[in-house]
Amino acid sequence: MQLSREALLAAYRQMKIIREFEERLHVEIQTGEIAGFTHLYCGQEAVAVGVCEHLSPSDKIVSTHRGHGHCLAKGCDVNDMMKEIWGSREGLCKGKGGSMHIADVTKGMLGANGIVGAGAPIAVGAALASRVDGPGPDGLSVAIAFSGDGACNQGTTFEAMNLASVTKAPCIFVFENNHYSEHTGVSYAVGTNQDIASRAEAFGMKAWRADGTDFFAVHNTMREVLDYVRAGNGPAAVEFDTERFFGHFEGDPQRYRGPGELDRIRATRDCLTKFRASVTGAGLLADADLDAVDADVMGAIEGAVAAARAADRPTAEDVLADVYIAY
């Protein structure tokens, strides 16, 4: 499917926002201003954007501990996200969630999650809610469960796939295989073989596989998957082969990486570089168009960081805000 110039620019901008948001966090974290655990999504942008650009606000996503990319791609406000990571009371979750627990239900973003594997059943529930509402003009609303290759080993993921299959819930399991769960390789941790999609197939689901560093592969695959699920065929799964550019968490020395591995994946498997090469190579966009997006995004991120720095800090009284049970 040929994308319009506007659609190409929008997709690129969204990927670039995620990239710069995170590259900037990587720098800012070293200043010590940001508290807690931060897991960067850099390298996987094509998946979040290639999946979420097809979704409307009535479609739901459930994210992971590496959630910034999914949140931004589903429409969470950049400034509010940055403020949340800074722990401000002006943040998307008023400084109560932080990097790992951002949600914006009004955008259909049902939460990042600090518990690996916890999201998949929640996505099935959201998909069951869509079944209650019934199809709209474009078919059923869907729910997407983003999971890593590590999360696919949790029982919750298996339970969720089975429940979705039994109930024909319009749920899509998106497995982002970045070859690592924390510091353990997928070849060790995924038994029998390393193919996660085939696990979904074993639950009676149709499954797709695609290169998660190639935006167009993600985009086209998701179009097919969504057509299938919106039509009421029940759940589906898709496994994207992708790369994580930073460590598991910020501060991870990454001693488990092979020699030259990071340089190699940055050079050959960067979804942004690949996107630029293919759109300019095909004459769809010029370098200047993309450079203009880059400059615009840099400004937006600069603004978000400045806003986060200037934003109100929570006070001790805020600890008791949104507590709904006395004693």
Binding site: C93, K96, H101, A127, A129
Partner: protein, 337 residues
């Protein structure tokens, strides 16, 4: 008013609420019962008969029979709730919370606070708890002490059919996660229940089932009846007991407890959960902190011993609090000074 069984009060409340609000959805293992069998759906209608007829009436999108997957059931309830529905999930036996604990503890209990108050999670998780059926250590437990200790959960323990009705309706209409604990030894008990389809009992309001003024007995569920029996017996000797049915352990009605203790100065907490770090210890601490100057005797708790629940009839009855043990505790606090 109608006379009805505890279990019928559960079912009729769910039925009425499903009729009233199309967003109410029921899910759980065997809540339909008979799915995928030659006998067909509704062959069982829920193992506690608390969902019989719902499937026939509301169909598979609103009555979802699930595989044996407690994490997926509670997780799906969370996802339904975040998507504008009002799920009522059934966990069969309360003992199975362990299998789904992450979804209860880290997910539904935390969303509203952790997401900055912008999200509500109106899920009801129902489960049958309690001993009395010789079901032994993995099918008889009282789990309220664990769940009450988790900020973010409302915990309800109805004792009478009327309370089932009023509290379950409140639970279903509540915008926050509610754990609804049904005592399995009470399912077949009967009582008068208001017919009003909007009859609701607010959370955090205990019920004073006996008023006496000499000693305060605090309990709920199966053991409440034992407390009432003790109160009735001692009334014959001129000893007056206040018997408080907590109804909800979170939120807790401190006021009713403290008001009573300020008059009686003597407290016995009777609970079915083990003694350590539980409701008994919690309430003893409460009165020690907030009603110390009224106390005429140390607060006591009557609970089972700190053991798993045994199987044999003789062992289970030795394990559970009894009318005699409660009466002995009341006499101990009365004898003080």
């Amino acid at each position: 008013m109608s006379n009805m069984m505890y279990r019928a009060a559960v079912l009729s409340t769910i039925m009425e609420e499903m009729e009233r609000d199309p967003n109410v959805v029921v899910l759980g293992e065997d809540v339909v019962g008979g799915m995928g069998t030659e006998g067909g759906p509704e062959a069982i209608g829920g193992i506690w008969s608390t969902s019989t007829g719902l499937y026939d009436k509301f169909g598979p999108t609103r009555v979802i029979d699930t595989p044996i997957s407690e994490s997926a059931i509670v997780g799906a309830a969370a996802g339904l709730a975040l998507s504008g529905k009002r799920p009522i999930a059934e966990l069969m036996f309360a003992d199975f919370i362990g299998v789904s604990l992450d979804q209860i503890w880290n997910q539904i209990a935390k969303f509203r606070y952790m997401f900055g108050g912008k999200t509500r999670c109106p899920a009801v998780i129902r489960m049958a708890y309690g001993a009395g059926y010789n079901a032994a250590a993995q099918h008889s437990q009282s789990v309220h002490q664990i769940l009450t200790g988790m900020p973010g959960l409302k915990v309800v323990m109805p004792t009478t059919p009327a309370d089932v009705k009023g509290l379950l309706r409140t639970a279903i209409r509540d915008d926050d996660p509610v754990i609804f604990l049904e005592h399995k030894a009470l399912y077949a008990t009967t009582g008068e229940v208001p017919d009003d389809r909007d009859f609701m009992i607010p959370f955090g309001h205990a019920r004073l089932s006996r008023a006496g003024g000499d000693v305060t007995l605090i309990s709920s569920g199966l053991l409440l009846g034992m407390c009432e029996a003790v109160a009735d017996k001692l009334a014959g000797e001129g000893i007056g007991c206040d018997v408080i049915d907590l109804r909800t352990t979170s939120p807790l009605d401190e006021e009713t407890i403290l008001d009573s203790v300020e008059v009686t100065g003597r407290v016995v907490v009777v609970d079915e959960a083990p003694p350590r770090c539980g409701l008994g210890a919690d309430l003893c601490a409460l009165v020690a902190e907030k009603a110390f100057s009224s106390l005429k005797a140390p607060p006591l708790q009557v609970t089972p011993p700190h053991t798993p629940i045994p199987f044999a009839r003789e062992l289970e009855s030795a394990y559970l609090p009894s009318v005699d043990k409660i009466e002995a505790a009341v006499r101990r606090v009365l004898a003080w000074r």
